[in-house]
């Protein structure tokens, strides 16, 4: 007896199997998506990261003070004409364009530094955090052409840490709330769990994956990353080097190994950092590579902030657990 045939000549059993498979896949994806983004997380670790990122933002913008007029002032050397060359749209807003009085710009510079300081100590969060992120973007849009990875990471961390409620822990705000609660004889203020903290953490993690993936695949187009001489090129760049490492020319095999390891690490980061087994190795490599950039290539700030960002993959409760610490078990209801 012939089985009834459906669309494309497939029998109904085959269609049922396909539909069941798709339904399960979509359900699994939705469950996974929800677990990934919306599982509440404690803010403790983001609080620690906030202190580090705040120090970096404060230092970075304090250094602008030295050549403020040349880079950011009303009579600066980086004119607005460069913006169309560097930005795909005209939405590159900056508060510097709103004022033409140099004294106002200087005043706002001190306000910005105060915001970065408040973010660092966790005072007036999240409002000071949003202001700090806005100032960092505004400075970056003003000084287009004199920026590098440090500025990109500054903005990312300020934004995501504020979004993640990093001011709820290791902060003056928390201390103040605890003090008031104790004085009133109530229960001590608990920083608790928050979905926003998880979202902020996940965005930092994904930002790192995007950075390393494209940094790695971009290098695949270069010759020296294949012939093993790329790290030599970095060490021997006179404008970058801060410690003379050119004696390494006597060890070309070591340079080649370090070059290949660097690119393998960058490209595999997105795949290996999520597994608890491989995560320690991947994060250790990140620390080694960025410490090398900081010490040998004169980019102490960039190296430091990248190491800081990698802390987003470290959990507060234990260094490398698979699942975020939950106060409610994450069992599915079937």
């Amino acid at each position: 007896m012939n089985e009834p045939r459906g669309w494309l000549g497939w029998n109904n059993a085959a269609w049922a199997w396909v539909m069941a498979y798709l339904t399960c896949s979509i359900q699994d994806f939705w469950t996974g998506w929800n677990w990934f983004w919306f599982t509440p997380r404690r803010a403790n670790w983001l609080g620690v990261m906030r202190i580090g990122a705040g120090c970096m933002a404060l230092y970075t913008h304090a250094v602008w003070t030295i050549d403020f007029e040349a880079f950011l002032g009303t009579e600066r050397m980086i004119g607005p004409e460069i913006a169309p060359q560097m930005n795909p749209t005209n939405w590159h807003w900056t508060h510097f364009d709103w004022f033409e009085d140099s004294r106002v710009l200087w005043g706002l510079h001190w306000v910005a530094l105060a915001c970065f300081a408040a973010f660092t100590i966790g005072l007036g969060m999240p409002w000071t955090g949003w202001l700090a992120a806005a100032f960092a973007i505004s400075y970056a849009h003003r000084a287009t052409g004199a920026l590098f990875g440090l500025d990109q990471m500054n903005v990312a961390l300020l934004t995501y840490l504020t979004l993640g409620g990093a001011g709820r822990s290791w902060s003056l705000d928390q201390w103040w709330r605890n003090r008031n609660t104790k004085r009133d004889g109530g229960k001590q203020w608990d920083d608790g769990f928050s979905v926003w903290t998880n979202i902020g953490t996940r965005l930092i993690q994904l930002q790192l994956c995007v950075i390393y993936w494209f940094a790695g695949t971009g290098k695949l187009q270069g010759v020296t990353w294949w012939n093993g001489e790329a790290l030599w090129g970095a060490f021997a760049s006179y404008q970058y080097q801060s410690i003379d490492m050119t004696w390494l020319h006597a060890y070309p095999e070591f340079l080649a190994l370090a070059t290949h390891l660097t690119i393998v690490w960058e490209i595999s980061y997105v795949f290996l950092v999520w597994s608890p087994r491989t995560r320690p190795v991947v994060i250790a490599m990140a620390v080694i590579v960025h410490a090398g950039i900081a010490v040998f290539l004169g980019m102490m700030t960039f190296g430091t902030i990248m190491i800081l960002a990698n802390l987003a993959f470290i959990e507060w409760n234990g260094l490398f657990p698979v699942v975020p610490a939950n106060h409610v078990s994450d069992r599915r209801i079937d």
Binding site: N34, E81, A146, L203, V210, K219, R331
Partner: protein, 275 residues
């Protein structure tokens, strides 16, 4: 609790209701897409990447997400160095470069030095392939001879394509010329004001990286030969105009050699871009 009762906890991620998670999911998907597509759309790339980029470009710019993340890629390359020669009112000349390794202690902290370095790298990226008016005129002249030859051979379609290409080249070159004068004028003004100069000549040079074999033969990264003086070229000249209290671009006669050499400033030189 009664025996045999099974307690099933709700998943922790259900703390937010379905609607809140739905709205948040849409925004998160859009944000992650914007985060991803910016480096994806860096040339060489596909038309798909460019199309997607076009839809998220405003959002990327607004939040400063538009980055390529091509650190030391595709290869660690030569550094761009901007040189300047300033003529003062008394006729004396003052030269300098940025970034200036000899002035690194004066540019302390290192981050400040790096800002100047990144600025010179940006100028190198924008104008490193610059073609002077004389060179461009020569190029057009040669290509027009080719067009005439193609027409004589009866290859009208090829000739028309070449003419169209030349028109596009001319448009791009003219736009880059305007951009060059506009972008470099503020730099010229700041330098003239800092050093109380009357006229400034800006040049662009590259410092190459010694190869492994050159290093084995004793060449240091600071070796003057790595500056490739023959590749240096003039970015332009500007003079201070008292009337407008601004700089004015100075057209250089085509006959004048446009390839100055840049030499490292001695350690005891007074020259420094940040004084």
């Amino acid at each position: 609790m009664e025996r045999g009762t099974t307690v099933v906890h709700a998943p922790a991620w259900q703390r937010w209701g379905l609607v809140a998670r739905g709205f948040a999911s849409v925004w998160l998907a859009y944000h992650v897409l914007a985060m991803f597509v910016s480096p994806w759309a860096v040339p060489p790339t596909s038309s798909l990447a460019v199309a997607v980029q076009g839809n998220v470009a405003h959002y990327q710019t607004l939040l400063y997400l538009n980055h390529g993340y091509r650190f030391f890629a595709p290869d660690p390359g030569p550094a761009s160095i901007v040189g300047f020669t300033i003529t003062k009112a008394d006729g004396s000349q003052f030269t300098g470069i940025f970034p200036d390794r000899y002035a690194i202690n004066r540019d302390y902290p290192r981050l400040n030095y790096h800002r100047w370095f990144m600025w010179s790298e940006t100028l190198g990226r924008l104008f490193g392939q610059w073609v002077s008016p004389a060179e461009f005129a020569r190029y057009i002249e040669l290509e027009q001879v080719r067009v005439a030859e193609l027409r004589q051979q009866g290859l009208a379609i090829e000739a028309d394509r070449l003419v169209a290409d030349l028109e596009e080249d001319r448009r791009v070159w003219e736009e880059s010329e305007v951009a060059r004068k506009q972008i470099l004028a503020p730099l010229a003004r700041v330098m003239l004001q800092r050093h109380q100069g009357q006229e400034i000549r800006l040049t662009l040079n590259r410092r190459m990286i010694p190869s492994l074999s050159e290093a084995r033969a004793g060449m240091q990264p600071s070796d003057a030969r790595l500056l490739e003086p023959e590749r240096a070229f003039e970015l332009g000249r500007w003079k201070w105009d008292e009337t407008s209290q601004n700089v004015v671009f100075v057209e250089v006669p085509a006959t004048e050699p446009a390839a100055p050499t840049i030499e490292e400033i001695p350690t005891n030189s007074e020259s420094n871009q940040n004084e």
